[in-house]
């Protein structure tokens, strides 16, 4: 496959490109799901193609094709150059890239069990067993389970001389119990909502989740929520469990630090960011105990934002985003790094597939662990609401104002977890919220969550991102607004 990428570069150069890079990607997916005891989705797909990005006359052009023939690849590269020339019709300045060296390397994420080698019957049996356990609980009206596997092999070449071969294996699974009664639909998801947990791992991840064992508790909670009192309205202390906090990080830290948003490149669709350049190194983003990194390196963990090299040939890195509460870094690529006079790209360019242009995406944007033991945190909390498992999420287009609701809440009174609360929600302004954080649990309670469905760009691209978090406490947060009647 590497030769197709090389051919694309040769063609682009002959056509007048001053820079080019090309990716061949071979992607295989497997999707399984069940619903109320029956198999729902059962499908596999494969997709192979090439995308080439070129710079001509200081402008970008990108073209892609699944026709991996000499003629097809040459036509694709020639088209990319023609598109770049068209871009120059509305050009204000030449694109400038920070330097990057040529890399020749091979990288693969470690995994133990190839999910595509596990018999389908075994995978379906596991899902159907979890499905049955949920339906055993009276009051469950809908039981759903799912598994997804993704195998990505890609060959990258650039006119700088890079030749990079990467292989990634991704696995994920989750279960959901839903209960409809009266005028309410309540649901509980495990291990997280919207597809469960996803990591750069093999089938060993699925086995570690123990879906069947968690199914009865999940189903019982979904039904019990109908009888639970409503989450109150007002200013309260809240404790967020780690998957909800992972999404909070994603929306209120991960997106606003994307330098393309900051520089206005996403203004028409995803929006911009309150983190204007004057705030770098000056803004108290969070309280002193908050440390956030964007870390794509394997040593951070098997996150969906883990890789060897990004999709413009820059090695995986760790960037300090918030250090001791101070805002210290953006997510950048070679173009945006040059725009703000950074010496090097932060290495965050990724593309969903061969037919998409790489763009700045979150890697693993994680809250580093604190020092609290979870039991100590609860014991230390006199009056709070513990919120678990995301149900809805929304934030404005500059990432100031957010509102989240979770599937379940628990009242904390006098240092003890007491009664269940239904329809919990909280809202706030990003920096006020993060500055109210006064306790973060330790590494023992830290999980690197996978968000497999982050949308960005036009045409839209879906990307997996990683978010490490441990349960944390926030003071004086507005709760209950989402369900307020007036």
């Amino acid at each position: 496959m590497q030769e197709w990428a090389n051919l694309a570069l040769d063609t682009a150069r002959v056509r007048g490109a001053t820079f080019a890079d090309a990716r061949v990607m071979d992607i295989r997916l497997r999707d399984l799901s069940t619903k109320n005891g029956q198999v729902g989705t059962l499908s596999e797909s494969e997709s192979l193609g090439l995308g080439v990005r070129v710079m001509t006359e200081g402008c970008w052009g990108f073209s892609s094709t699944s026709r991996l023939t000499r003629e097809g690849v040459q036509a694709c590269a020639a088209r990319a150059v023609a598109i770049a020339r068209a871009s120059a019709l509305a050009k204000r300045h030449d694109v400038v890239l920070v330097p990057e060296q040529a890399w020749v390397d091979t990288w693969q994420n470690p995994f133990i069990k190839d999910p595509f080698a596990i018999p389908l019957e075994r995978q379906l049996d596991l899902l159907l067993a979890a499905d049955a356990e949920m339906r055993r609980v009276a009051g469950v009206t809908l039981a759903e389970t799912s598994m997804q596997f993704r195998r990505i092999e890609q060959w990258y070449a650039s006119s700088l001389g890079s030749r990079i071969h990467q292989f990634k294996m991704q696995s994920g699974a989750g279960i959901v119990a839903t209960s409809f009664a009266g005028n309410e639909i309540q649901k509980r998801s495990y291990p997280a909502s919207f597809g469960g947990q996803h990591q750069l791992a093999g089938y060993e991840l699925i086995e570690s989740l123990d879906l069947v064992a968690h199914a009865p508790r999940l189903a019982q909670e979904a039904v019990a929520l109908h009888q639970a009192p409503m989450c109150p309205e007002g200013q309260r202390t809240i404790i967020l469990e780690s998957s909800q906090l992972g999404l909070q990080i994603h929306e209120s830290i991960g997106h606003p630090i994307e330098l393309d948003r900051v520089l206005g490149m996403e203004a028409n669709f995803a929006g911009m960011s309150f983190l204007t350049l004057d705030k770098l190194g000056k803004l108290r983003y969070a309280s002193d105990i908050v440390n956030v990194v964007a870390d794509a390196r394997l040593e951070h963990g098997p996150g969906l934002g883990t890789f060897g090299y990004d999709d413009e040939g820059v090695p995986a890195q760790c960037t300090d985003i918030i250090k001791g509460g101070l805002f210290t870094g953006y997510l950048s690529d070679r173009e945006t790094a040059a725009a703000i006079a950074l010496r090097r790209s932060g290495g965050t360019m990724r593309a969903e597939s061969w037919n998409r242009l790489p763009m700045i995406r979150m890697t693993n944007v994680s809250l580093l662990p604190g020092e609290w033991r979870y039991d100590d945190l609860i014991a230390d909390t006199d009056d709070a609401i513990l919120m678990e498992t995301n149900r809805s999420w929304s934030i404005d287009d500059r990432r100031y104002h957010f509102q989240f609701s979770t599937e379940i809440g628990w009242e904390i009174k006098g240092g003890k977890k007491t009664r269940m609360l239904k329809n919990p929600s909280y809202s706030g302004i990003t920096t006020e919220f993060w500055n109210s954080c006064d306790a973060i649990c330790s590494r023992d309670h830290w999980t690197l969550w996978g968000t497999p469905n982050c949308g960005k760009g036009q045409p839209m691209q879906t990307m997996g991102t990683g978010h490490g978090a441990s349960p944390s406490r926030f003071r004086n947060v507005r709760v209950g607004v989402a369900f307020a009647k007036s």
């Binding site: 094709t65 598109i83 300045h93």
Partner: protein, 474 residues
């Protein structure tokens, strides 16, 4: 305001690039012909010895020119073709998809589909594949759209950003064109083909503390007028300068069509028979009851002249016109074949490709409109809010159908029958059934394009008691 955007404003006017010779002219990619797709499908069918086999081929040629900071910063094109095979063996079915069209890859896709099918228990709801059907005629392929070039798109963008620069604004947006062809055949003789084109222009105009937005799409490029849309976005940007903060609460709200679309679009799956069977539709126990206002009538109609899409569903059944809501009363649901059998109804031709968890959904929603223009709605409002666009809408309560989201890119205070000021953006938490019970005025129904829902035919609406809960900082 970022330095990058400031520097963009100071830069020179658009200029024509010098042309360099670098090889022969580049031919624009084209879609495979119907005959080519048919020959490919017949090859796949020949490779299968399953009890039944279905082949779906989707081909596309798409391009998108993206601009921001008054310059084109991304400019992309793609050519795709996928072959998707569904086999049925002894009451079991599964799907495998490939984008490789050599014999070996197609045989492997057929074999993968069969292996997946064999791995599962029998499906008691599985029906035999449908035979040949008759479809309503729709004309959604326009050569003017299919033949658009990168230069065509770039020239239109250059005109828009040139104007923005003269007006002291920063423009961002997209101009995309594309064409697609689809063929669905099965071993029982079904043959369904559809070709269509697609054009879309979207623009945000930014000023120091305000912004405005406009968007349109159509199968016919000649219906897209970038400079008109840019002018509309610019007017909103100018009118919303120095936004005031007004208190959240219950307000009379005038929703332009894009804002209506992105709210009511969240109802689409509630009309699925499967959603009612699964007890996750907001119409559970509400069918036949008045849950919206007398002035709300909604149907699904793939043949409507402002609609787009194929006249058949994922199994190849013809899409029927379905009256979903009549004068505020939800009357009918849509059904895939298997759902219809379970619910003792008739298939309406709204099923997704099998196998799937979701059954079906209406994809061509058309609201009845009224005759009140947005200007007349403003003129008749003593105190209210006019909204251009909504953003990041999510479902808070699936049964009461409470949605949350933000306003964006053109939010205005209306006082004494006129636009008084731009305002800081609100968060809303609004019950959509309640909203559709409080519609005081309706505009003419138009094809609207937003970002949260697929395109529909909807009117602008003036709504009472809309619930804003908080306000953001811009």
């Amino acid at each position: 305001m970022s330095p990058a955007r400031k520097s963009a404003r100071r830069s020179s006017a658009p200029r024509t690039p010098s042309r360099v010779t670098g090889g022969p002219a580049v031919a624009e990619p084209h879609l495979p012909s119907d005959a080519e797709l048919r020959r490919l499908a017949e090859r796949v069918l020949r490779f299968s010895d399953a009890d039944e086999t279905e082949v779906e081929i989707d081909a596309g040629v798409d391009a998108l020119t993206r601009f921001a900071n008054n310059t084109i910063h991304q400019n992309v094109a793609e050519q795709t073709l996928t072959v998707s095979v569904r086999t049925v063996l002894d009451g079991r079915t599964a799907r495998a998809t490939t984008n490789k069209t050599d014999d070996e890859s197609l045989r492997r896709a057929v074999a993968a589909s069969a292996a997946l099918a064999r791995s599962q228990p029998k499906n008691p709801d599985l029906l035999p594949m449908p035979r040949r059907q008759k479809y309503p005629q729709v004309q959604r392929y326009f050569p003017a759209t299919a033949s658009a070039t990168p230069d065509d798109r770039a020239r239109a963008v250059a005109a828009v950003v040139g104007r923005a620069e003269k007006d002291g604004r920063t423009a961002a947006g997209i101009f995309s064109t594309g064409a697609s062809a689809m063929l669905l055949v099965n071993s029982s003789g079904l043959h369904a083909a559809h070709r269509q084109t697609r054009a879309e222009f979207s623009v945000t105009m930014l000023e120091g503390d305000s912004s405005g937005w406009a968007k349109a799409n159509s199968p016919d490029l000649r219906q897209i007028h970038p400079e008109t849309l840019a002018a509309a976005a610019g007017e909103k940007s100018a009118a919303s300068r120095h936004p005031r903060e007004v208190a959240p609460g219950r307000w009379t709200v005038i929703l332009e069509p894009a804002a209506v679309l992105d709210l009511v679009g969240f109802l689409f799956y509630d009309f699925a028979g499967t959603a009612v069977l699964d007890q996750r539709s907001c119409f559970n126990n509400r069918l036949g009851k008045k849950v919206m206002g007398e002035n709300i009538t909604l149907r699904d109609d793939v043949t409507h002249p402002l609609q787009s899409g194929a006249p058949f569903d994922g199994e190849g059944m013809p899409r029927q016109k379905v009256l979903l809501v009549e004068r505020g009363v939800p009357k009918n649901l849509v059904y895939a074949r298997a759902t219809a059998k379970k619910m003792k109804a008739k298939s309406t031709g709204h099923g997704f490709a099998l196998p799937n968890d979701f059954g079906e959904a209406p994809m061509n929603l058309v609201f009845d409109g009224g005759s009140t223009s947005v200007e007349e709605m403003v003129a008749s409002t003593d105190r209210g809010i006019l909204l251009t666009r909504l953003w990041y809408i999510r479902e808070v309560d699936p049964y009461e159908k409470v949605l949350t989201g933000m306003t964006r890119d053109g939010s205005f205070l209306v006082e004494n029958g006129r636009i008084a000021a731009g305002i800081r953006n609100f968060r809303f938490n609004q019950n959509i059934l309640e909203m559709l019970s409080n519609v005081a005025q309706l505009g003419p129904a138009v094809r609207a394009a937003g970002e949260e829902s697929f395109e529909m035919v909807v009117p602008s609406m003036k709504v009472g008691n809309f619930h804003f809960t908080e306000v953001t900082k811009f």
